[in-house]
Symmetry: C2
Subunit: 341 residues, 2 copies
């Protein structure tokens, strides 16, 4: 340490040592923003009362670069991504945990901004940050800030979206324009100068899912198409159900700017990550009702029915193109967009 | 990528992309070792049935360097550390989540060894790895492998170790020799050549805690003295209870080799991290019974009563030295042992 100023403004190794410095970091920069009755006792664990039933546990490590991107940052992403993993299981989020690995030298103002973002997203999703941990790694042995959130949710009685319930004829819906998270991050990363035009869609989907589940529709399967995009989820669905999927390119919501940017970057928007999109499979007869329920919610204004499940064999995902042709949609191999979430 | 050989033996960015490469990594190197009925569906979440009651959620990020150290590795540590955070809340661990951030270029054999270690520690602690996530960061923007585990535990009826229950006269016990984890890691880091003589104590404490809770003792408070060591926990206890603590140096278990190494490294063993130690506060009348219960368990063979809670004011931690002197024990500031867990 070269003086008080450095200590005050940058992360130092001692902030992760578990001693007095760690306490100062937490009490000065973390706890005031996240304060809630579960976190406040500051034990290493949170204790929650739950009714008998099914609970859901999920975890995700977030390594997005840059950590601040158009429409969000790694903090908002870490809350929304984990809330969404619970939501698509039909679970109502009741607690999140927050583990951060900070790189020595990280500007404390950056940390402050990320903490604000975490607090705001948690409030938006109505879920407390119930427990956490903070570690520090040496300069050049980390990458600014990585976050792992885990989430705990309660599954209501009778709610059971699951791939095994999907059948022939079921309708496939999405709640709005695809590919926006991945494209926004890539735009920032590549310095394309289009940051003001396209924002990440990062948002907590638990409210939208609740509306859909309460609509009375037979909701058979839900998934948030993140890494791997819509293509990845549809490929999983075909493989997992041994049925085919037909989707219509013309019906898949995609804004003109997103389409343009995907072309510029040479990316297939179907394979680009989303962080505020919901893919829902519902019984064919419920397609209209589900669509109306989604469109009634702020995160579903541009919802659309994009295709259906068929019994064509072998099980494949087929895209009916705008030109009327057909192409097989495959699971992306993985190089497309590293560190997008 | 320069060829198949590299792809097969080293972590590449695509392994974290969420596409086909990620699936291959998981199905080839992760799932076969962790397989259990919660993890196998490979959704992003695990679903568990729980009875009505209190559940406990905890999380920890593990950044230990080196990732393999005498007596353990980051995998064993990530399981045991989180199991122990549940155990000291009186919770029986029912599920862990596992989030890994891998550095591009990591040798897959290293990952394989860590996964073996995770599987083995999870088995030892009788807890399934219920869900997980894997990300990859570029070479030189990470540090080999960091792991975040979260844990979920059930708290039994009537079990409530909590700082608020601690009172004057209560006895303080530990289950064995302190400082061994921190010293083992430092020994490996500094190349002291003493790696065969001192091993980390890293171990899951849930079984030992269960024995203690079932012994009929009035167990008032439990904590695992990790970062900050015994000194940190005792300082927390004095501050949290507004009472004083008196501990006797001669009664605190410390092996000759650990004492020697601490002297060599210029460290106060009281401030050095443990990963398989339990500090327990029990009613004075139950001290002997608690000691006997601990000593009956393989992880408590060297258990000892090390001191007691007093009403001395102001609230401080005092160490009665071997020479009969007294010194105030303070919470370590944090620089002592960065990246020890």
């Amino acid at each position: 340490m070269t003086g008080k100023q450095v200590t005050d403004e940058r992360i130092i190794l001692a902030h992760g040592g578990g001693g007095e410095s760690t306490r100062q970091l937490l009490s000065g920069h973390v706890l005031p923003k996240l304060a809630n009755e579960l976190l406040n006792p500051l034990t290493d664990s949170a204790v929650l009362d739950v009714p008998a039933g099914r609970i859901c546990l999920t975890t995700d490590a977030y390594t997005v670069q840059p950590i601040v991107f158009p429409g969000g940052d790694i903090g908002r992403l870490a809350v929304c991504g984990t809330v969404n993993d619970l939501a698509v299981m039909g679970a109502r989020p009741i607690a999140l945990s927050l583990a951060m690995v900070l790189e020595e030298g990280l500007d404390l103002r950056t940390l402050d901004a990320i903490m604000d973002s975490i607090a705001s997203a948690a409030k938006e999703a109505s879920v407390p940050i119930a427990t956490g941990d903070t570690k520090v790694v040496e300069h050049a042995r980390g990458d600014g800030l990585t976050i792992t959130t885990s989430g705990l949710g309660l599954i209501g009685d009778g709610v059971s979206p699951a791939m095994g319930r999907v059948g022939e004829g079921d309708a496939i819906l999405v709640n709005g324009g695809i590919a926006e998270h991945g494209l926004a991050v890539m735009s920032a990363r590549e310095g394309l100068g289009m940051e003001t035009q396209l924002l990440s869609d990062v948002a907590p989907l638990a409210g939208l899912v609740a509306v859909l589940l309460e609509s009375g529709c037979d909701v058979k399967f839900l998934r948030d198409p993140t890494r791997g995009g819509l293509a990845g989820v549809l490929a999983d669905l075909a493989e997992g159900t041994s049925m085919s999927i037909e989707v219509r390119e013309a019906d898949i919501p995609l804004t003109p700017i997103a389409r343009h940017m995907a072309e510029l970057l040479g990316l297939d928007p179907l394979t680009v990550a989303n962080e505020g999109k919901l893919l829902a499979v519902v019984a064919a007869d419920d397609a209209d009702k589900a669509l109306a329920a989604m469109r009634d919610h702020p995160l579903g204004r541009s919802a659309a029915v994009i295709g259906s499940v068929t019994d064509a064999s072998p099980p494949l995902v087929e895209l009916v193109t705008r030109a009327g042709g057909r192409r097989i949609v495959q699971r992306p191999y993985g190089e497309e967009l590293p560190r997008i979430c």
